[in-house]
């Protein structure tokens, strides 16, 4: 199984530990990750809002790059996943826009053809690697109560993210992360507001303190269910949960200390990978007492 590895901006720059964890886990599961000269995806919370045409053209360039190599794209960030899937759908359904965008890419020898699939790591793990292989690779028993946070751009809007898996009411409720963690022996628990926003999109653009109030609401429901670890599949959601706890404790007299993990880190731990490879030093809410306790 070979994929073009779409790192995005946040993971390699802010959280290289997640990149390291993902590469180690991918190798353990027989996935080959190929690095290509991608740029910013570009972000659905930034460029799509500022200038739609620029958002579409950059996404088309990234898609075309993987198409040239004949590979599917593996994404590790919800924003990248949303942008690349949506841009692909828009360009496939609108020949006029596609012609215009391809005219822009032409001087750089690129053309969007629509041949590259875009898959988030969670879908690759569940569907391409499979739960049995994950279970088979698991060595260490981790018994934490994990609160899964999927993040909005992973599955919304469902007409764009999972058009082939819609319910009769045209919705899609993700279960991939719970299934993967369950296969690796962890204990994912249900909590209220599980599928709602972390707040990141508000904090990065306008008002971080207000964004943290959105996060606080989610954290309170996680605490109600004695969640001991939060699992995310997006580095922006990670940053929001990790940073918000520190800021809420400081400014709002809260007392949250729930470590946040990127999915590859939890799998790495379950697979018995050395902690140095999993990059916990960038975490603001420390993982030590949970892992050693």
């Amino acid at each position: 199984m070979r994929y073009a590895f779409f790192l995005g901006c946040v993971m390699p720059v802010k959280y290289p530990g997640f990149e390291s964890a993902t590469r180690v886990v991918a190798e353990a599961l027989g996935l080959e990750l190929v690095d290509l000269p991608f740029s910013c995806c570009s972000a659905p919370t930034l460029m799509r809002l500022v200038h739609y045409d620029s958002w579409l053209a950059l996404a088309a360039r990234n898609l075309a790059l993987a198409e040239q190599e004949g590979m599917s794209i593996l994404t590790v960030c919800n924003g990248c996943t949303n942008t690349l899937k949506e841009a692909k759908q828009v360009l496939e359904n609108d020949p006029g826009l596609r012609k215009k965008v391809n005219g822009i890419l032409e001087p750089w020898g690129k053309e969007f053809t629509g041949e590259a699939e875009v898959k988030h790591l969670l879908d690759v793990l569940r569907d391409d690697v499979g739960l049995e292989a994950i279970q088979g690779r698991t060595e260490k028993e981790l018994t934490f109560r994990v609160g899964c946070h999927y993040g909005c751009h992973f599955f919304r809007p469902p007409r764009i993210m999972y058009p082939d898996r819609l319910s009769p009411s045209k919705h899609f409720l993700p279960t991939q992360m719970d299934e993967i963690l369950g296969a690796a022996g962890l204990n994912p628990v249900q909590y209220n507001r599980r599928l709602l926003c972390c707040g990141s999109g508000l904090g990065t653009k306008v008002d971080l303190d207000a964004a943290n109030q959105i996060t606080r609401e989610k954290l309170s429901h996680m605490a109600d269910k004695q969640v001991q670890a939060i699992c995310v599949g997006c580095p922006s959601c990670f940053e929001q949960f990790d940073r918000a706890q520190v800021l809420l404790n400081r400014k709002d007299d809260c007392n949250y200390e729930i470590p946040v993990f990127y999915i590859s880190q939890l799998l790495g731990l379950a697979f018995g990978v050395a902690e140095e490879k999993l990059g916990f030093s960038q975490h603001r809410v420390k993982v030590t007492s949970l892992l050693n306790g």
Partner: protein
């Protein structure tokens, strides 16, 4: 304000102002005065100029829960996206957003890269941060018109 490629404007007239979008909206919960239902109504009644100068427009987290829950199947988040595009065109861009867009234009990434990144990467056994072909990204964004808008 005709962007059929972003959303279907005709659909907005199906809105009966039930405010489920706003009751479901995380940003409306956290920011007083941000109200997607009201933005939609004001836009339809008074026009685009009335809704694009207020920076609160940019509070939308783009979570799309509004669309998920709208009984009339209106893409409220896409309406807001379209309005933000229009606001940007007229020079109303929040500072943080402008600064990220500039960084993207200049470096091909939406984040500034600190000098320590490669040190941290090396410690983890990772290669240095991959190069982004900046000239190509800049060339594309000049053609799409971002350079004129931001630069």
């Amino acid at each position: 304000m005709k962007r059929p490629d972003i959303f279907n404007e005709e659909l907005l007239y199906e809105c009966y102002q039930c405010a489920r979008c706003t009751g479901s909206c995380p940003a409306a919960f956290a920011v007083e005065g941000f109200n997607p239902r009201n933005i939609l109504l004001t836009y339809l009644r008074l026009g685009v100029e009335e809704v694009i100068t207020d920076e609160k427009l940019w509070c939308c987290t783009t979570c799309h829960v509004c669309e998920d829950r709208c009984p009339q199947l209106i893409d409220v988040a896409d309406l807001l996206t379209s309005l933000m595009n229009e606001a940007a065109k007229q020079g109303h861009i929040p500072e943080k957003v402008r600064s990220s867009a500039e960084t993207l234009l200049r470096t091909g990434r939406a984040l500034l890269v600190s000098g320590r990144v490669d040190q941290i990467r090396k410690k983890l056994g990772l290669k240095p941060l991959p190069e982004v072909p900046v000239e190509e990204v800049e060339g594309i964004l000049e053609k799409t018109g971002l350079t004129d808008l931001i630069g």
